[in-house]
C-alpha cells in the first residue's frame, strides 16, 4: 500500500510514502516530530496533488544535503520546505506540516534502498487507517493549492495542476 521509489540521482536512497486516513493522534505525532522522535516527514495531504510532488521535494532535499546547502536543519524539514512555493520556512510548516486536528497524514521516509525496517516503527506510532498512497489525490484541496501556488486558469489549459506546482517548487530558488 505504501509507495517506494528509488532516487535515480542518488541510487543508494529510496523514498517511501505512506498515507493514513481516519487519523486520531495528529497532535501527538506532531509533538513527536518536533522532538525529533519521528524519523520522517509528516505532511498534510490536503496540500498534495500527487505523490510525484513529494518525490520532487525529497530528491531536492537529498541533493541540498549532499552539497551542504540545506535551508533547514534536517532532511525531513527540508522536504516540507521544498514543497512550499516561497522561501519562508515557518510558512512552509504551517501549510504543509500537520496540524493538531488533522484527520489524515502522509508520512515520507528517506532510507537506504535495502532497509525498510523502520517502516514498521512509524506505522506503529500512527493511530489511523493506512490506505494506498494514490488516494492522496482524493484528499487534496485543489482550491487551496491553486491559491497558495498562485496557479492561473490559463496555466491549467497548457498543463495539469501538478505541472504548475512542481515547476514552482523546482524554480523557487531563483524567483
Amino acid at each position: 500500500m505504501h509507495l517506494t521509489q528509488k532516487l535515480e540521482l542518488f541510487p543508494d536512497h529510496a523514498v517511501t510514502q505512506i498515507l493514513f486516513r481516519e487519523l486520531k493522534n495528529a497532535a501527538e505525532l506532531k509533538k513527536s516530530a518536533v522532538e525529533g522522535k519521528i524519523n520522517g516527514a509528516l505532511i498534510n495531504p490536503a496540500m498534495l496533488v500527487s505523490p510525484f510532488q513529494v518525490l520532487v521535494a525529497a530528491n531536492k532535499a537529498v541533493h541540498s544535503q549532499k552539497i551542504g546547502k540545506m535551508k533547514t536543519r534536517s532532511l525531513y524539514s527540508e522536504i516540507i520546505f521544498n514543497l512550499s512555493p516561497t522561501n519562508n520556512i515557518s510558512e512552509a510548516f504551517k501549510r504543509f506540516g500537520i496540524a493538531d486536528g488533522d484527520e489524515s497524514v502522509l508520512v515520507v521516509l528517506v532510507h537506504n534502498k535495502d532497509e525498510s525496517h523502520h517502516l514498521a516503527d512509524i506505522t506503529a506510532q500512527v493511530d489511523g487507517l493506512q490506505v494506498p498512497v494514490d488516494e492522496v489525490s482524493s484528499l487534496s484541496d485543489s482550491a487551496k493549492i491553486r491559491k497558495l501556488y498562485k496557479v492561473t486558469p490559463q496555466e491549467e489549459k497548457c498543463g495539469t495542476l501538478l505541472d504548475a506546482v512542481v515547476c514552482r517548487m523546482a524554480i523557487k530558488d531563483v524567483m
Partner: protein
C-alpha cells in the same frame, strides 16, 4: 557527482550549441536533462558567468510562459552546481522545422498545409511578447509540434529559453522576430509568403504589435543599409 553518474548511463539525444540533451528516467518519469557543460574555448570567468546566467534565465522564462498558458516543458529539478535542468520530455512530437521540410517535400498544396501552423506560431509569439518574455533564439528547431494538421488537436511547444530575458522594449521584441525571420527564411527557402502569414497573425494577436512591427522594420533597414566595407 550524482548528476554525472546518472548522465553516464543516460542516452545522449543531441549536442546543441549550448548544451547536451540526454534522455533518462527521473523519479519514474521520462525526462530530458539539459546539461550546460563547460565550454573550454571560453575564458573561465566568462564561461561561468554565461552558463549560470543562462540556466537561471531559462527556468525563469519557462515559468513565466507557463503562467501565461504557453506550452513549454515542465521543470522537475535544477542542479545549479552542474548546470543541469531536468525537463519534461515530449514524446511523439516533431520539430516545426522537420514538419515544414516534409510538407514542402510532399509538394501537395503546401501553403494551405502550413498556413494554420504559421498562424499558430504568430499567436503564441504574440502571447509570449505580451508577457514581456524575449526568447532570444527563435528558430523552427526550437518549436515542437504534435498533430500535423489543423483539424487534429495540435499542440505547439516552445523550447530552449537559454538566451531569453524579460524586457518591455519593442526594440527587443522586434529583434526577436528579426532573428526568427532570418532563421526561418534561411532554413526554409521560398517561404517568404508563409512568414508574412506568421507576422500577420502576430499583429492580429498582440496588443502591442504596432510598435514592435515598426522596430522590426527599423532593424531590417539597419541590416540592409549597414556599411559592408572590408
Amino acid at each position: 557527482m550524482a548528476v554525472a553518474e546518472l548522465l553516464s548511463t543516460a542516452t545522449l539525444v543531441r549536442q546543441g550549441a549550448e548544451a547536451r540533451l540526454y534522455r533518462t528516467e527521473f523519479l519514474g518519469k521520462p525526462t530530458i536533462v539539459k546539461e550546460r557543460f563547460p565550454k573550454r574555448y571560453r575564458h573561465r570567468a566568462l564561461d561561468e558567468k554565461l552558463t549560470h546566467r543562462r540556466t537561471v534565465q531559462e527556468v525563469r522564462s519557462i515559468l513565466r510562459c507557463r503562467k501565461a498558458g504557453i506550452s513549454v516543458p515542465v521543470v522537475y529539478f535544477v542542479d545549479y552546481s552542474t548546470h543541469c535542468i531536468f525537463l519534461e520530455e515530449f514524446v511523439g512530437y516533431s520539430t516545426v522545422r522537420d514538419h515544414i521540410t516534409s510538407v514542402q517535400r510532399s509538394k501537395s498544396s503546401q501553403d494551405q498545409n502550413l498556413e494554420w501552423l504559421a498562424q499558430r506560431i504568430g499567436q503564441i509569439l504574440a502571447k509570449m511578447h505580451d508577457e514581456d518574455v524575449i526568447h532570444g533564439d527563435l528558430t523552427t528547431s526550437n518549436m515542437l509540434l504534435k498533430g500535423g494538421s489543423e483539424d487534429q488537436d495540435s499542440e505547439l511547444v516552445l523550447l530552449d529559453f537559454g538566451l531569453s530575458y524579460i524586457s518591455v522594449l519593442p526594440e527587443d521584441k522586434g529583434v526577436d522576430l528579426y532573428v526568427l525571420e532570418k532563421a526561418f527564411l534561411s532554413t526554409h527557402p521560398n517561404t517568404e509568403a508563409l512568414f508574412q502569414k506568421l507576422l500577420k497573425s502576430y499583429i492580429m494577436s498582440s496588443k502591442k504589435s504596432q510598435v514592435v512591427m515598426k522596430k522590426l522594420d527599423e532593424v531590417r533597414v539597419r541590416g540592409r543599409k549597414r556599411s559592408m566595407v572590408g
